[in-house]
């Protein structure tokens, strides 16, 4: 990306803070609509392709062969190294925990997984892409937890169409009302055990379905990007651009307009608010390398720094008018932090498919759309809302050798063949929005750039705990019914944050007294500041949220530019 403009001026039409999934979309939409846009990225530059330095490497090319740099992780990456995508092949896409500290209550651990570099977590994300429905947008109004969403599915549906058409989502059309179909590229195949489980679950459990995952990976060439070649480890980066990321997709589109400037190593300190004008005028930045303080000005500001980081910037933007954080007259800023409870489900073995195998390392799994609390028939008395399940089946490989007796030629030749099929299925559940789950600035501790670090307060409530118990029992029941052997239920005690679906710290709502943003992701109090990352979510639903961030961001950009044209911003 040597075409990046050299920084000449300090004033732009728009500033976007963050370059992950939301920031990439904001950059694309605003530049395509003609706004000279500055993207501020707190981390280093990453060049698509060239900087995917581990992309093609075989296991033998890593010093510890994938076992990880254990001692380094213990001291420098204690939180990040718990992430499934973290390892010798990807460490360079995760922050050093020591250099980027945060704290939490001793009895309320929170795992905050971060990637500070151009593209952010869009480089390592899980790529699962599901629409939300009115089951989700009406949930708060229905049971009274959280404030009512100011939007409904019908308003977002055309924007889901819009972002899916560009991003490229592979999936199957299923006609499920609460998991609406989208604009899909051809679906990936299930393997024979997944198909077997699907048939048995759908036969034995009225109304349940098992579908192939909907995933932002190309099954056919799309918009100049190449299709997936099924190597497996997407999170190392993909030079072919086969999965959607800011670097493969949105930032190149933004760059092509000639309206984009990217400034890396730019830590957003705060939003500058002008009391006389009663609007934000720019963003205060600390250069990550030189520690120099800089100011950049613009007509409109989009915060896309991620749920927790955007809240940090807003909380750190204080003035006489907003002493507790920008646009915080409601007091909701930083509160109602949510994630998805997961890691509860079951595994099972299947022994009757010995002659079947698969070809390719599919970067996708199967999905069981939510089947609880949809109606009177599916009501669960133990908890509100619900969960969907994800999983997949594979054949066990050489790793089993350590549990196998023997050694020598027979042992080696036995390990040469794949062993039994194993399936893993777990739930991803909804987290109720609660005021007591929140982030705050710890003014006694500052980071290397002089910014107060965050203290996080978040825990699961009884509702999430009951839901996870049901994930475990319900998945085990399905795998038993499908004829699985050695069904092993599991429930891991993972802290919030571990699912990397943080949401809710600047929630949308109809009432400025109880919410930070209106239905356009626009601050009720400061009209030229928009927040379009996970902060905006008024509830968490149970679907992976990134696709919804994309749709909300594109929609907010369209609205902001119209408001500028109308002279309202």
């Amino acid at each position: 990306m040597n075409a990046f403009n050299i920084l000449k001026k300090q004033t732009y039409d728009a500033i976007v803070v963050g370059s992950g999934i939301s920031g990439g979309w904001a950059a694309k939409e605003l530049t395509e609509k003609g706004l000279k846009t500055l993207v501020l990225e707190r981390g280093r530059m990453v060049e698509h392709g060239k900087d995917y330095v581990t992309e093609d490497k075989g296991a033998w090319e890593f010093r510890y062969r994938g076992m990880g740099e254990r001692k380094l992780y213990e001291t420098e990456y204690p939180k990040q190294s718990t992430c499934y995508a973290f390892g010798e092949a990807t460490k360079h896409f995760f922050v050093n925990d020591k250099e980027h500290p945060y704290t939490h209550d001793a009895d309320k651990p929170f795992t905050w997984i971060r990637g500070y570099h151009l593209g952010g977590r869009s480089l390592m994300w899980g790529r699962q892409s599901y629409r939300w429905s009115n089951l989700d947008f009406e949930a708060n109004a229905r049971d009274g937890f959280g404030v009512d969403w100011p939007i409904r599915y019908e308003e977002l549906a055309p924007w889901y169409d819009y972002v899916e058409e560009f991003a490229g989502i592979s999936g199957s059309r299923e006609g499920i009302p609460h998991l609406p179909d989208g604009i899909f590229l051809p679906p990936m195949e299930m393997n024979c055990v997944e198909t077997h489980v699907k048939e048995h679950v759908e036969k034995n459990f009225d109304g349940r379905k098992i579908i192939i995952g909907r995933v932002a990976v190309l099954t056919v060439p799309h918009k100049g990007r190449q299709r997936c070649h099924y190597c497996g480890p997407c999170h190392r980066g993909c030079s072919n651009g086969a999965y959607f990321s800011s670097l493969s997709s949105t930032l190149p589109a933004a760059l092509a307009t000639g309206n984009l400037t990217i400034r890396a190593n730019s830590v957003a300190h705060s939003v500058i608010y002008d009391e006389e004008k009663d609007r934000a005028v720019g963003v205060r930045v600390i250069d990550a390398v030189t520690h120099e303080a800089l100011e950049f000005h613009a007509k409109v500001i989009f915060l896309c720094a991620s749920t927790i980081a955007s809240a940090q910037i807003m909380l750190n933007s204080t003035s006489r008018r907003f002493p507790t954080g920008l646009a915080n007259s409601s007091g909701a800023l930083g509160h109602y932090l949510m994630d998805h409870p997961y890691e509860a489900g079951a595994t099972a073995e299947f022994t009757n498919f010995e002659d079947e195998y698969y070809s390719g390392n599919r970067p996708n799994g199967i999905y069981i759309p939510r089947y609880q609390n949809l109606d009177a028939k599916t009501q669960n008395k133990n908890y509100l809302r619900g969960f969907g399940c994800q999983g997949g089946a594979t054949r066990v490989g050489w790793e089993r050798g350590k549990f196998m007796p023997g050694f020598g030629a027979d042992f080696k030749h036995a390990l040469r063949k794949p062993a039994q099929w194993q399936i893993w299925v777990g739930g991803w559940g909804e987290h109720l929005p609660r005021y007591e789950n929140y982030v705050e600035l710890d003014h006694n501790h500052k980071d290397a750039w002089g910014i107060p670090i965050l203290k996080l307060h978040c825990k699961w409530s009884d509702n999430e705990n009951k839901m996870r118990e049901h994930m475990r029992d319900s998945v085990a029941e399905m795998l038993e019914a499908a004829g699985g052997k050695n069904v092993r239920p599991f429930l891991n005690e993972d802290p919030p944050g571990y699912c990397i679906h943080e949401m809710g710290t600047a929630r949308m709502g109809r009432d400025p007294k109880t919410s930070v943003l209106n239905g356009w992701n626009q601050c009720h109090d400061v009209k030229n500041v928009f927040i379009t990352d996970g902060s905006a979510m008024a509830s968490s639903a149970c679907q992976n949220p990134s696709l919804t961030y994309m749709a909300l961001t594109a929609r907010a950009c369209d609205y902001a530019v119209k408001e500028i044209t109308r002279g309202n911003l």
Binding site: G49, G58, C231, P233, G241, S359, E399, G406, L415
Partner: protein
């Protein structure tokens, strides 16, 4: 521009692989990478001889011999050819805690001592039957420890696990013993095992 560059790269890679197939063999991944990056292995590059950092030369030979007993050369090369002993020495030196390192080395010395006591000679000088009997006894102990969920695994459990990891993540393990397919046109969910014949070597 970047995309075109990658297409060229991929085309070149595919072309090279096709050539290799025509020649009736596979081109090893390191060689392929070297050719792709334009730097063929140079004859002038003198390889520094490898020396163990934690194991003594005698212990290293014992580890290499035992690894080869676990994964021997058959119709494909075994653990010794895959330099599993070098991997094990690296793990002992840099990865294990001092407690784990001591447990491994003590276990290794204990095995040598037990063999000497039983047969009056070094393990390496023993007959295949004597060596196999010794490892079988150790393997039984190791599996029993795994089954009871012992946290600090005994020597042979460590030895066997490191041998497996070292072998199946080596070029030999991934590309000769298993089937390595870094790219394919499409994911096929259900194919006859016979078409592959062996386990896939997977990147992750």
């Amino acid at each position: 521009m970047q995309t075109n560059k990658m297409e060229n790269h991929m085309n070149r890679r595919e072309a090279l692989q096709r050539v290799a197939l025509l020649m009736g063999g596979t081109i090893s991944a390191p060689l392929l990478n070297a050719v792709l990056s334009g730097c063929a292995p140079s004859a002038r590059q003198v390889e520094k001889p490898w020396l163990p950092q934690t194991l003594t030369p005698e212990q290293n030979e014992l580890v290499a011999a035992m690894a080869e007993m676990i994964i021997p050369a058959t119709d494909t090369p075994g653990a010794r050819a895959a330099k599993v002993n070098e991997f094990i020495d690296l793990i002992l030196t840099e990865w294990y805690s001092s407690e784990e390192r001591v447990r491994f080395v003590d276990g290794l010395n204990d095995l040598a001592r037990r063999f000497q006591q039983a047969h009056g000679k070094d393990f390496l000088a023993g007959t295949t039957e004597q060596q196999t009997a010794m490892l079988t006894a150790l393997d039984d102990e190791a599996l029993a420890a795994r089954r009871t969920g012992v946290k600090d695994l005994p020597f042979f459990a460590m030895m066997k696990e490191l041998t497996l990891v070292g072998y199946y993540t080596s070029t030999i393990g991934m590309t000769e013993e298993l089937v390595f397919q870094p790219a394919t046109d499409r994911f096929e969910g259900c194919i006859p095992l016979g078409r592959v014949g062996k386990t896939w070597a997977e990147l992750n």
